[in-house]
């Protein structure tokens, strides 16, 4: 790659990070307003990231060491690849779903490498919250049935001719939206880092490592919102997607502010129920259309 390409990639990464962190800060602010608290300023997520990045750190001696340090790096690797494959190259949807599944390895590895019982619980929960991926695959197959392609640029150009997919596939859009909700902080499906197990898999990743994980989370939030907007609304431009991102963050924070954290089995059962509904929709499309 030449220097122009590199410059563009760096800019894209910084853009995703800044927009993701501002949106997560806005999410926290709106949740606080719903719960009648003043709430932190919207740059709080960014300030937290900077604070953790420059903070003094001690590494627990119970940690399994190369894995313990490698996991935050893997988090950024996973979501940077998703960013480049989705936003830059507009490549296949299946690869991005595969990368989303890799995120589970990060959660599992973070939890189990730290040696903390809370982290271990978070890692174990992340394994059986893998039920969140079943609706995702159902969504992908439904989109394939309708548009005959899995390449994101093809899906976007299909929608420019036939109108947005959210009108044709409302159930799939809902399932994908539930995925966004479960990825956002303080969500009812967030059993992996729920406050009942201190911070889940993040419990013993503090200081610099927490800063790296926060950077990865901000990029992840940006990429997932962009995916939703590109697949179901047909807007692939990162500037035009910005108002929709703010709108979706608003809806997600209202949902997260009003619902309590579900128990693990309730969360899994709810996600499986949604998966069954989407699979029935898929079956109907395969048989009758």
């Amino acid at each position: 790659m030449d220097f122009n390409e590199f410059f563009y990639l760096i800019n894209l990464t910084v853009y995703a990070f800044l927009i993701g962190s501002l949106l997560l800060g806005l999410h926290r602010k709106i949740m606080a307003k719903i719960q009648l608290r003043p709430g932190p300023p919207i740059i709080q997520y960014l300030l937290h990231t900077l604070k953790f990045y420059f903070k003094e750190i001690t590494f627990p001696i119970t940690a399994g060491n190369p894995l313990y340090i490698f996991m935050p790096i893997l988090q950024i690797i996973v979501w940077l690849s998703a960013l480049i494959l989705a936003v830059k190259l507009e490549s296949s949807l299946l690869i991005i779903i595969g990368l989303y599944v890799l995120q589970k390895i990060v959660e599992h590895g973070c939890g189990l490498s730290s040696g903390s019982p809370y982290g271990k619980l978070g890692g174990v929960r992340s394994v059986f919250s893998a039920a969140a991926e079943i609706p995702l695959f159902a969504v992908v197959s439904t989109v394939y049935i309708v548009t005959n392609s899995l390449i994101i640029s093809d899906i976007v150009s299909y929608q420019q001719i036939h109108g947005p997919l959210i009108l044709k596939l409302p159930i799939s859009a809902f399932a994908f939206f539930i995925l966004l909700v479960s990825k956002a902080p303080n969500s009812p499906f967030g059993i992996v880092k729920g406050k009942d197990i201190v911070s889940g898999y993040l419990t013993e990743h503090f200081g610099l490592l927490a800063g790296l994980i926060y950077i990865g989370d901000a990029i992840a939030y940006f990429v997932l919102l962009w995916l939703f907007i590109a697949i179901f609304l047909g807007i692939s431009n990162i500037f035009l997607a910005l108002p929709f991102m703010i709108l979706i963050t608003f809806i997600i924070s209202i949902i997260n502010g009003l619902t309590p954290l579900l128990a693990p089995h309730h969360s899994v059962m709810l996600q499986i129920t949604i998966a069954i509904v989407v699979l029935l929709d898929l079956l109907h499309r395969v048989i009758f259309l």
């Binding site: 790659m1 003094e56 750190i57 627990p60 060491n65 950024i76 690797i77 690849s81 830059k88 790296l212």
Partner: protein
């Protein structure tokens, strides 16, 4: 030197190498080197600029039987 600093040096070396290889190669491979470059540099730089810990017993987190 503790193991975290050693990992930091390894990360810096990987980051530098992928920075060079990124400009030599073309296509998808160069994106791969970019993806390796960013987090490794972030960790490698970060581990050397964090202040030295003032904790007496290194790595012994409370509530773990110490």
């Amino acid at each position: 030197m503790d193991i975290e600093k050693k990992v930091g040096i390894v990360c810096l070396i990987i980051g530098m190498l992928s920075f060079i290889l990124m400009f030599i190669t073309n296509g998808l491979i160069s994106y791969l080197f970019y993806i390796l470059f960013v987090p490794n540099i972030l960790y490698g730089v970060g581990i050397f600029i964090v202040p030295k810990t003032r904790r007496k017993k290194l790595g012994k987190i409370p509530f773990r039987g110490y």
